[in-house]
């Protein structure tokens, strides 16, 4: 952490300490090293020559604590004499090769977490960590395997800057690590600020703030080449870096190339199964330093990358395949492995920055940047053809259970199968007698170890089980042969027919232009003033292209799923086939467009976003107390534009027009669609969000201090959450005002999330022991989220916009580092938190294809959007483990041997719940909008709600609060009705924690050696092993499937015929596991 203290100007002689920090092997200056005097609690950082100077010191014995990114810290003793200047001999720092390796692993980990189409990560570790903070430096790597998140915050809470320019995506809120893939040197130097603390490069946010510093002058002169091997997703890496150091003309230059690669490895069950990986990273930076302190930097970096992906799958699949590395995304083509999900990313970035030193007390920083993030992911799509996914639920043995799980309430069907001990088999309640009361006999233990009921044919069941267990290629992987065959057969029957299968590429690009001006003034005693303006113009660019027609002649640009779903629903909507043919068009002005390889199709829209932020901050530094406060005002806008006019939008426009309602996605501007245009514009939405933060540090003495930070802010929803179906139309979530309808401040801010946060820290720093304890509390209100899922009740893909989400994060984090003699350091860290929802949410659900969700049973009016509460209150946030602890023993020998072992324990880790399974209407039979739910837990068919003393369930909805009132229902701690087994499995929040406590531990170790050669050359070797004990029971994340098991009740009309069945295992949750034992071996040669 950078900390500059402003000292009183004095004309008198003064006690001064000067010195220089250099690399122990090469004697090159170490730039940006932190030099801290332990007793007096003053600090500074080294300049480009590695030099430092501290003035106005107390004359005393002093410990000089020196730390720098990528180096092992050291402590030197010095005697400061009154009014004298002490010149220290050069302080040598040894490169921390273990830390460098860990940083590289972390960088890759975070990049690979960017794993889905929208670039949303399931979970994300922080790749940046403050070296000087004991807690962060201990946990950032050790806890990354468990997908620990700092204080439970989403990755959007962490703010990232590069050379002072804001790099969190305006559209998604996240930082894209793939931009720096493999460029460990480019990302080496950074300022990392703990949540809410004062810093000069940003106002900051809830989480940590990181500013990557890529000026060439930071790098020591010389070459560095390295090779590395690993058994992770990529198998090898080569890299080379050249840095000129600061040349006589003031210029310095650095360039790095890093290539990481893995071809497909045809070996099932390995880490990275079915994954290829190629990434070539480049980084070039040039910096000019003038003697007057001004600096000018130009830099560019990027990493064109192509990599395969893997998927979360159900526990059944993991168990059958016997591997946590099973990957359903690949299959054999021509005898070779081919992955269907290939990410291509490339983020060319250009930055120019100028540091202007106005005088000794004033400086300004200017930065301009341009960043074009190209991110695309491929996927197999299909049309009028069978689902090609090998792990599709109907392809699994458990599908045989469907219909054979007895409804415990239905006595006419409910023979219950008992195991040998007379207890229910925990995996289910198979029928043991038919609905006429006839006993069917006993079940058998199948080849997967489950006790299956007598109504399941064990031969068929076991056949499928064994195909999976033996990893039969056509059963467990994508059958590329079939996909080609379908298309070739199609060509033969009709050369003009659309492809049955094809590989499409979904592009989610974003281009950003940004600028910042940062002014810092230390003219006044004890006061540092910072003011800054940052601006960013962004455009999200979303479209699909045809990647591979798989032998087909062409594709026709219609929405395949819309066609299927609409036709299934046609009888309900009264649509004619002719009308449907219009609705399924993706571009009504180019109907039935023929698509061939490389063509753009499906959707083609932009999200234009403007961001402007002004903030200032005052920091006062006194001998015993430091104070700061900051204010910020932020403006954001978003507007969707589309280059296609699709049939679903047109249909919904017609509906809105007929009803005379002004739907937000149309507003009053429907005329623009009356003729073909190159671009159609939706409304612009504006947001203004203020923020305030303040804090104080009380320095008990030089070694002990107490810090308080607090913040309050509002923040606009991100564009990705604001549009309920942005591929189809520009309709925004309910609480975003339309600009001519906001009449009050409350209405204007009705969509902004409100956040208040505070933390209190005690820090101590002694020669032998140092550490900190922090308590934190954060409450947010009125968050917005968007979900999409296939809805069985309405039998179509549904978008669900959640608003009014309140969350609370509270907990304690602590760390301590103890020096054990000369060579060893023992570090302990722990974090215990409680991160949970503190309110229910409101959900608006609508079909992506514009079809009605339900029907008013009285008026028969079709209802296109339903509104209901989602019962989230009290549930835990799925943001990684909430209880974590680790112990790390580090070894450092002056002859440059490094080693460490870390043992970590993780607990209280929860799976995210599917909001669709927690809708209030599922417990009441009626949504808050008054519509009936077609099949709910309390109806007479499921009868799944526990009641008190066997009384009949009675529910109603309070018309004012829209809260359900339950009579006779047994309620849980959050006021939600308790469901009977096995229905309770469908809605409960799952724990991800392994049953056996021993499987909650992870052990990492590393060993390294740095060898200095002649002529300032060196070779470093490091081996890092993660999950040393090969714990394959450690779940890191996943999701609960949205679909509920349902059956159709015969003899009933649509919208009245659905029943939730007792087969809780039909759509089980899907999980990600932490990799088993994996290593990273690197050798680096510097010359």
């Amino acid at each position: 952490m950078l900390l500059s203290l402003m000292l009183c100007v004095s004309a008198f002689a003064q006690t001064t300490l000067r010195g220089k920090v250099v690399d122990a092997g090469t004697n090159t200056p170490v730039v940006g090293a932190t030099v801290l005097l332990g007793n007096q609690n003053v600090a500074t950082t080294t300049n480009a020559e590695g030099e430092f100077q501290l003035l106005y010191l107390d004359a005393t014995d002093e410990e000089v604590i020196v730390e720098a990114e990528g180096y092992v810290g050291t402590i030197e003793l010095v005697l400061l004499e009154e009014n004298k200047t002490v010149e220290m001999p050069a302080i040598q720092l040894a490169p921390d090769i273990a830390k460098q390796t860990q940083d590289e692993i972390l960088l890759n980990l975070t990049e690979e977490e960017m794993n889905d189409d929208e670039g949303r990560s399931q979970s994300q570790a922080s790749a940046s960590s403050a070296t000087t903070d004991v807690f962060n430096s201990t946990t950032s790597f050790a806890w990354s395997t468990a997908r620990y998140r700092n204080r439970g915050y989403a990755s959007t809470a962490e703010t990232y800057y590069i050379e002072g320019l804001p790099f969190n995506s305006s559209e998604r809120g996240q930082f894209n690590y793939s931009a720096m893939g493999g460029l460990n040197d480019a990302s080496r130097y950074k300022d990392v600020i703990n949540p809410m603390e004062a810093t000069s490069f940003t106002f900051g946010g809830l989480g940590q703030a990181t500013n990557y510093l890529m000026g060439a002058s930071r790098y020591a002169q010389g070459w560095k080449v390295g090779v590395a091997g690993t058994n992770r997703n990529y198998k090898a890496r080569v890299n080379a870096t050249y840095a000129s150091g600061t040349m006589a003309n003031g210029w310095s230059v650095i360039a790095q190339l890093a290539y990481r690669f893995s071809p497909y490895v045809d070996n099932k069950g390995i880490i990275g199964e079915g994954i290829k990986y190629y990434s070539l990273g480049y980084f070039v930076s040039a910096e000019k330093a003038w003697s007057n302190g001004n600096r000018l930097r130009f830099l560019t970096f990027g990493a064109p990358t192509e990599r395969g992906q893997n998927a979360a799958v159900t526990q059944e699949v993991y168990d059958l395949t016997g591997s946590i590395n099973y990957n359903p995304y690949w299959g054999y083509q021509d005898g070779k492995v081919r992955n269907s999900r290939i990410v291509k990313s490339f983020d060319p970035t250009f930055i120019a920055a100028f540091d202007l030193k106005i005088d000794e007390h004033q400086k300004m920083k200017f930065a301009l940047g341009y960043h074009y993030s190209m991110y695309s992911n491929s996927a197999v799509n299909f049309y009028n053809a069978p689902d090609p996914r090998p792990d599709y639920y109907r392809n699994l043995p458990s599908f045989y259970w469907d219909g054979q799980i007895a409804n415990p309430n239905n006595e006419t069907s409910a023979g219950q199968l008992f195991d040998e001990n007379g207890a229910h088999y925990p995996w289910g309640l198979f029928i043991g007698e038919d609905m006429n009361g006839k006993s069917l006999g006993t079940g058998v233990i199948a080849d997967d170890g489950y006790l299956i009921g007598p109504s399941i044919d064990p031969a068929q069941y076991n056949n499928l089980v064994n195909l999976w267990k033996n990893r039969d290629n056509t059963t467990t992987q994508i059958n590329w042969d079939n996909l080609y065959a379908a298309n070739y057969a199609n060509n033969a029957n009709d050369p003009n027919a659309p492809a049955r299968y094809f590989v499409e590429r979904r592009h989610n690009d974003i281009q950003e232009s940004m600028a910042t001006i940062n002014y810092q003034n230390t003219k006044y005693d004890h006061l540092k003033m910072t003011a800054a303006l940052e601006a960013k113009v962004s455009q999200g660019i979303h479209y699909k292209t045809m990647d591979d027609l798989l032998g087909a002649n062409q594709w026709i640009d219609i929405d395949a799923f819309a066609e299927r779903d609409i036709k299934e629903l046609a009888s309900n909507t009264g649509f004619t086939q002719e009308y449907i043919a219009q609705i399924v068009q993706n571009d009504l002005y180019h109907p039935n467009r023929v698509i061939r390889q490389g063509d753009r199709f499906g959707y083609d829209y932009r999200i234009n976003m403007n961001h402007l932020k002004a903030w200032f901050q005052n920091e006062w530094t006194f001998h015993e107390v430091d104070l700061y406060y900051g204010l910020s005002l932020e403006y954001n806008s978003m507007q969707r534009t589309s280059r296609m006019f699709n049939g679903r939008q047109a249909y919904l426009a017609t509906l809105a027009y007929r009803r005379g309602t002004m739907w937000k996605y149309l507003g009053d501007d429907t005329d623009q669609y009356s003729s073909p245009k190159s671009t159609y514009y939706d409304r612009t939405h504006h947001f203004v969000d203020p923020a305030i933060k303040f804090g104080a540090t009380y320095k008990i003495n030089g070694r002990n201090r107490v810090k308080l930070n607090a913040m309050a802010m509002t923040s606009a929803p991100y564009a990705r959450d604001a549009y309920i179906s942005q591929r189809v139309h520009g309709r925004v979530v309910d609480n975003i005002y339309v600009h001519d309808t906001a009449r009050t401040i409350a209405e204007f801010y009705s969509s902004s999330e409100k956040v208040a946060s505070a933390d209190l820290t005690y820090e101590f720093n002694y020669p032998i022991v140092r550490g900190r304890v922090t308590g934190f509390f954060t409450q947010s209100w009125n968050g917005t989220e968007l979900n999409g899922y296939y809805d069985d009740e309405s039998r179509t893909f549904v978008n669900q916009a959640l608003t009014g989400i309140d969350k609370r994060y509270m907990g304690i984090e602590a760390a301590i580092a103890v020096k054990l003699g000369t060579y060893f350091t023992l570090t302990g860290a722990a974090s215990v938190g409680d991160y949970r929802y503190t309110s229910d949410a409101m959900a608006v659900s609508s079909a992506e294809n514009g079809m009605p969700m339900t029907q008013n049973m009285v008026t028969k009016e079709l209802i296109y959007e339903t509104r209901d509460k989602v019962l989230l209150n009290g549930l835990k946030l799925a943001t990684g483990p909430q209880a974590n602890a680790s112990l790390k023993l580090s070894f450092f020998h002056p002859k440059m041997w490094f080693a460490d072992v870390t043992v970590s324990y993780h607990d209280w880790n929860y799976l995210s719940v599917a909001p669709s399974r927690r809708m209030q209407g599922l417990y009441t039979g009626e949504r808050t909008d008054g519509t009936n739910v077609n099949g709910w837990f309390g109806d007479s068919y499921a009868n799944a709600i526990e009641t008190t003393d066997g009384q009949a369930l009675r529910v109603s909805i309070d018309p004012e609060t829209q809260m359900a009132v339950y009579e006779n229902a047994v309620l849980d701690a959050n006021g939600v009705p308790v469901l009977k087994y096995p229905y309770n499995l469908m809605t409960m929040q799952e724990s991800l924690v392994a049953t056996n406590p021993l499987n909650r531990f992870l052990i990492d170790a590393s060993i390294g050696k740095l060898i200095y050669l002649k002529n300032r050359q060196s070779v470093s070797i490091n081996l890092s092993v993660t999950n040393l004990t090969n714990n394959t029971h450690f779940k890191t994340g996943g999701y609960q499937q949205a679909r509920l098991p349902r059956a159709v009740r015969q003899g009933q009309k649509d919208y009245e015929n659905s029943v939730i069945t007792a087969n809780a295992w039909k759509y089980p949750s899907k999980y990600y596991y932490a990799w088993g034992a994996n290593f990273f071996l690197s050798v680096t040669y510097k010359f």
């Binding site: 290539y259 009028n384 006419t412 109504s455 044919d457 056949n463 079939n482 057969a489």
Partner: protein
């Protein structure tokens, strides 16, 4: 100079590594994905390819070999009077000699009138042999197209009868407690072969060739000379029916009467909304999700009748019958022509056999589509030789 050399060397190494890494599987050709006769011979060298009728004779028994007294066949499937089973399941040994059948697919499920079912046809000595296949594969026509010849290894599968219709299948226990009269349908019966199992058991022989399909053309009079309208209630009588089931036929010179089969008697269709009336004058109005096929009467000028069978889930379910419209069905006789489809004999109540109450309406022809919706199986003209153009029920015009 040394620096430049080092740089060049690194760049060269990188380029080589990139080039090594760019190996991708080549695109598959038609030769890669369709079996040749040589491959068929190699595949079947461990066993025998059976003609479809021989396959039924060899493996399908009257009683089936699967169910037991404790775990019996579906209720109401056994006619004790005549000792006939409408439902049966015979499993085919998993091990032992390979049991293969081959045939060309005659169905297409695009329109939805066939659902998770297909029929294959084998022409033996110029005569059709057919077999239904029940497979849990939606949109199967995407992979198994009409006209595609396939070969199936049947070991581990089963052959059985569902409502007397023979089919390749697996044993499945019907426990749909939400069905109408569920307790009368509970029990073992032929079920759908799991999709991945079927895909693994099946190979495509050559490209699809619809011209190779054999259509038996009939007038209704001719048809009823070829099949028994009311078969003898013996195993032999039933066997003849079962062998005729699945035949691909064209019936000439018929028209819709605007009637439907009302439990053995015929009744006139109405003009109500197909969602609310199961008697609406469209191909297949609602059954309120019971899902039974809807019958509409076809008749020739000799007053012979056969049912045209359609599903309420088909895409043409709400299309008016030829000659019908929102005003009624009065114009139906003026539209005559041919109906193509799969011949079937469907009976799921053994009590009908026991009481000898067959009506003749058990026979039906199931079209695979109508003009504009899938395979164009209904071709009719009016007195002016205008072709029938299907129109759909439109609630906005009522």
């Amino acid at each position: 100079m040394k620096t430049i050399k080092n740089t060049l060397y690194f760049v060269l190494c990188t380029v080589v590594l990139i080039a090594l890494g760019s190996c991708e599987p080549r695109a598959l050709t038609e030769e890669d994905v369709f079996f040749t006769e040589d491959q068929v011979a190699e595949l079947t060298s461990d066993g025998q390819i059976y003609h479809l009728n021989d396959f039924l004779d060899q493996f399908m028994t009257e009683q089936g070999n699967f169910a037991s007294d404790t775990c019996p066949y579906r209720e109401r499937s056994y006619d004790a009077t005549h000792e006939l089973y409408l439902y049966s399941v015979d499993t085919i040994p998993t091990n032992g000699p390979g049991v293969y059948i081959r045939g060309r697919i005659t169905t297409d499920d695009y329109s939805g009138n066939f659902y998770k079912a297909m029929v294959i046809q084998e022409v033996v000595n110029g005569v059709q042999q057919n077999l239904r296949i029940s497979v849990d594969l939606g949109s199967s026509h995407g992979l198994y197209q009409m006209g595609q010849e396939i070969i199936i290894r049947c070991n581990g599968l089963a052959v059985g009868r569902y409502a007397n219709q023979p089919q390749l299948c697996i044993p499945s226990y019907n426990n749909n407690i939400y069905a109408m009269n569920a307790n009368q349908k509970v029990g073992w019966c032929p079920g759908r072969i799991q999709a991945s199992v079927f895909r693994r058991a099946t190979h495509l022989i050559g490209k699809p060739d619809r011209s190779q399909l054999k259509y038996d053309e009939y007038t209704l009079s001719d048809l009823y000379r070829d099949i028994d309208l009311k078969p003898a209630l013996t195993e032999a009588g039933m066997d003849a029916v079962r062998k005729a089931d699945g035949r691909l036929i064209i019936i000439r010179n018929v028209h819709f009467t605007g009637e439907f089969d009302n439990n053995g008697t015929l009744a006139k269709c109405d003009t109500l909304h197909p969602d609310s009336s199961s008697n609406a004058n469209v191909f297949a109005p609602t059954t309120d999700n019971i899902g039974y096929p809807q019958s509409r009467v076809l008749q020739d000028n000799m007053s012979n009748k056969i049912m045209c069978s359609s599903s309420e889930y088909s895409k043409f379910a709400h299309f008016y019958l030829p000659g019908a419209d929102r005003h009624g069905v009065t114009d139906c006789p003026n539209w005559t022509g041919s109906v193509t489809g799969i011949l079937g004999w469907y009976l799921d109540k053994a009590s009908t056999l026991a009481s000898n109450k067959l009506t003749g309406y058990e026979w039906s022809v199931t079209p695979r589509g109508i003009p504009g919706i899938g395979i164009s199986d209904i071709e009719m003209y009016n007195d002016h030789d205008d072709p029938w153009i299907p129109t759909e029920y439109d609630p906005r015009k009522q």
